[in-house]
Symmetry: C2
Subunit: 310 residues, 2 copies
């Protein structure tokens, strides 16, 4: 279980390699909610998502012999590119195991950061990744269960609080839960009375059901959501952290996610991927509770093909 | 002719009403150019464009009797909304004369800031505006020839230099020329040796031809450009300021403008309207001259219907 000290250490470790992303405000949003909203723009982060934080923390925390053997992961999304970026920054080898059906743009992103790509069948990714890690001695950096990754993601909320000041409510998206769990640790340490929220698509509501039942629910298979980054099931350590730090999950409908994406592009002039836009959709679902409050939103990323705009 | 003191005064006057917009950097851009680029995000400005600066300066500089009589303009674009915002902020009346063919979204933006809209035929806008100004005593705030507007726009470059530090090159778009002229004054005062550039669509290259011939050329009528904000002819005082401060105009092709818009959305995760994206297109046209330089770009606005994305 990570603590606030781990997040402080992560912030010091990753500082030079990541952006201190801006916190934007919007008079239109504040009027809509009758509240003061502060949007932490991790869509403007290195690699286009908060994932650069966790990946850098995990890679930079390796000791020298471990670092020389390199790192490996099986995430083809934002974490794959972020790990490749972190490894390139430290100058160590990185392998990303990808399904042979991965979109060309994701392959290009990982290659652009100099990582080696190992293609395999989608169903064999975990096994191939484990075998390669064993063969090469590379450290497997899990996208959301690695404690250094979780602590790294928590630095987004730490910075948001430093930049925006006192907050009554903080919200992040929830997929695997690394960002939400890390942020919850930072929020509890700095703002003990704040409400900590997680935004989750209704279509993949395993985190909401896990918190409601007290038992971690499995990943929802076969579901469809615009928020492709949140299709993952909630990770075990993150479930524990969400419980310990009393995180409340708010589920959101697909049309609300699309409307939130459009709002960010059309009114705030920033590109937020559907996974990140869930936080605005969730706040709108509980708008009645937010009047007069100071609310921090972590906009998790901006990597999108804009299909939601059509 | 405005001076740097006017820009300093404008900055103090408008400070509380406008955003100190962030300056973003991009490792991808820096790699592309072999240079250090600093993007001043006026697309994240109030009303979605730098126009809020000039409009606020003009409105806030009015004396009390003048202010009570209100302000009026015939711009239906970003300046119309910006003037409405400035007037609302000061609590004075504002009228925007618009052609009865104006898009609903522009009408809504102006109305949203509480301004009165006066519809008329497009060809009669100037005359109607002059008549209403005479009848009501309202101050006509020209979108780019009013000296307070020009000084206000110059605060964008002033802030950029404060935020990014020493720069070798600064570039803004050129339409009516208020932003470019105001910025040139700030750049010459703070960075006397810097190269000051203006980016202009080749399709409406009156500023380029004006500077080349030394005689202000008329607006190019009937041309088409993605950069709808730059279709205006270069204003008389701005032409003089561009000459005095040795601004070089770089013209850009339409496909280069669209490619630049896409780059900002897909890689930098920000929405930049085609008029604003011209600056990147222009830098790409002279990339060979920029290696090793520190380059500041003013991204003028983010108000767009995203047609260029399709």
């Amino acid at each position: 279980m990570i603590t606030f000290a781990d997040i402080r250490a992560a912030a010091a470790r990753i500082g030079p390699a990541v952006h201190r992303t801006p916190v934007l405000t919007s008079a239109t949003l504040d009027r809509e909610f009758g509240a003061s909203l502060f949007a932490k723009c991790e869509n403007l982060q290195k690699c286009g998502a908060f994932k650069a934080r966790g990946a850098c923390n995990a890679v930079f925390a390796l000791d020298e012999p471990g670092a020389r053997a390199g790192v490996i992961t099986h995430s083809s999304g934002n974490h794959g590119a972020a790990l490749a970026y972190a490894a390139q920054t430290r100058g160590i080898p990185c392998t990303v195991v990808m399904p042979d059906t991965a979109p060309a743009v994701k392959v290009a992103a990982v290659q652009g950061y100099g990582a080696r790509i190992h293609f395999c069948k989608a169903a064999e990714r975990d096994a191939v990744c484990a075998r390669l890690a064993a063969e090469t001695g590379a450290t497997l950096v899990h996208p959301f269960e690695n404690p250094f990754v979780i602590a790294g993601q928590g630095t987004a909320a730490l910075e948001l609080i430093e930049q925006a000041g006192e907050l009554d409510v903080v919200i992040t998206p929830v997929g695997g839960g690394g960002l939400c769990a890390g942020s919850a640790v930072a929020v509890r340490a700095l703002l003990p009375r704040a409400v900590m929220l997680g935004a989750e698509p209704l279509a993949v509501d395993d985190a909401a059901r896990s918190m409601a039942t007290g038992v971690r629910q499995g990943r929802v298979d076969g579901a469809k959501s615009w928020a492709d980054g949140l299709m993952t099931g909630l990770g075990a350590p993150n479930f524990e952290l969400l419980r310990r730090h009393e995180v409340r999950i708010v589920t959101v409908a697909e049309d609300a996610i699309v409307a939130a994406c459009r709002f960010f592009a059309e009114r705030m002039k920033i590109v937020v991927e559907p996974s990140g836009a869930t936080v605005l959709a969730a706040l709108r679902a509980i708008a009645g509770e937010l009047r007069g409050k100071r609310v921090g939103l972590v906009l998790s990323g901006g990597n999108t093909d804009f299909a939601w705009l059509r």
